[in-house]
């Protein structure tokens, strides 16, 4: 239900990282999305499209990698501590422009 806020934060993070890497258009963005989070991928994709409008992330492809729930319990149920499945984590982005040579951040 808070996908719009999540999408806005994603665009902010992506734009800041792109600017730090020399700028350029963002082609794609990879997100790790745990199945235990309360974020709906389709709603997020739509919110991202809107949030990216008018920015270097406009039109960027959002690749969502689902992270299935894994808990630290061997009992077969989901009672243990969450090892994986709560991620809402930006992994990488692809920039259209190559890094300008000679300037290392």
């Amino acid at each position: 239900m808070h996908e719009v806020g999540v999408a806005q934060r994603m665009v902010e993070i992506a734009l800041a990282a792109a600017a730090e890497s020399g700028g350029g258009k963002i082609v794609s963005l990879r997100l790790l999305l745990g199945t235990l989070t309360c974020v709906d991928p389709a709603t997020l994709a739509f919110a991202f499209t809107v949030a990216a409008r008018g920015t270097p992330a406009e039109g960027a492809r959002l690749d969502v990698e689902p992270r299935e729930l894994l808990t630290a319990c061997s009992c077969g149920a989901h009672g243990g501590d969450v090892v994986r499945g709560r991620e809402l984590r930006l992994d990488t982005l692809d920039l259209e422009e190559p890094l300008s040579t000679g300037s290392t951040p």
Partner: protein, 220 residues
């Protein structure tokens, strides 16, 4: 040609940072903080009214009550003599940590034993946002149906205690207590369960005892 840039950033990083700051502040002040979450209409405010009334004179407590709009909950709780701040999110489906930092400003935290946060009525989003509380408590009313743990696993998984409310209405529903609690415990084997009725006061002794123990453990 494209260039890959590593981000490795949690999208909710800002909230996690604010929550840690809150937690440090609460710890330094020695105040025990609970985040109460439930669906709308599960009985959070009624439960808080009875809790505040019962703890009057025993614990120094304050309440931050969150709603999308209105000060109705704050008015109800203030009528019981509670120090209360109403937080209006203006449409947002959950409370975030920075809002708690602001809402708690009027309170002298080191003069409090217990701070109760009544989250927005919503089974989905509040579970995702750490506020810096010590424990999360979920209120789950039997009129909601016994399928909710399976449908909304995150909140049931995050809860330290589960308050099964409105048990006085059980005879009028087809709610299966055993099935609901089995599903909740499959997600969260350590969860403390209290069956109670906030309107009738049934089962309140055990809940209040647990709460007072948690506060005492924080103080020592």
């Amino acid at each position: 040609m494209t260039t890959e840039v590593t981000l490795a950033q949690d999208v909710l990083h800002d909230n996690a940072r604010d929550a840690e700051a809150n937690r440090a502040r609460f710890r330094a002040a020695g105040v025990y903080v609970l985040n109460l979450m439930s669906a709308p209409g599960a009985g959070k405010t009624t439960l808080l009214e009875r809790t505040v009334e019962a703890l009057k004179g025993k614990l120094r407590l304050a309440v931050i009550t969150g709603d999308i709009a209105t000060t109705r909950d704050a008015d109800r709780l203030a009528a019981h003599g509670a120090r209360v701040v109403q937080l209006n999110t203006g449409g947002a489906c959950h409370i975030e940590a920075h809002q708690i930092e602001q809402a708690a400003r009027p309170f002298a935290l080191d003069a409090l034993d217990l701070l109760l946060i009544e989250n927005i009525g919503n089974l989905v989003c509040p579970a995702e946002f750490d506020l810096g509380e010590h424990d999360k408590v979920m209120i789950y009313s039997c009129t909601e149906g016994h399928d909710k743990p399976a449908k909304y696993p995150l909140m049931f998984k995050e809860a330290k205690a589960l308050l099964l409310n409105k048990i006085d209405l059980l005879p009028y529903t087809n709610f299966d207590v055993d099935a609901a609690l089995a599903d909740a415990r499959a997600l969260n084997p350590a969860v403390e369960v209290f069956q109670l009725s906030a309107t009738q006061g049934t089962g309140f002794g055990a809940w209040l005892g647990w709460l007072e123990n948690r506060v005492a453990a924080r103080r020592s």
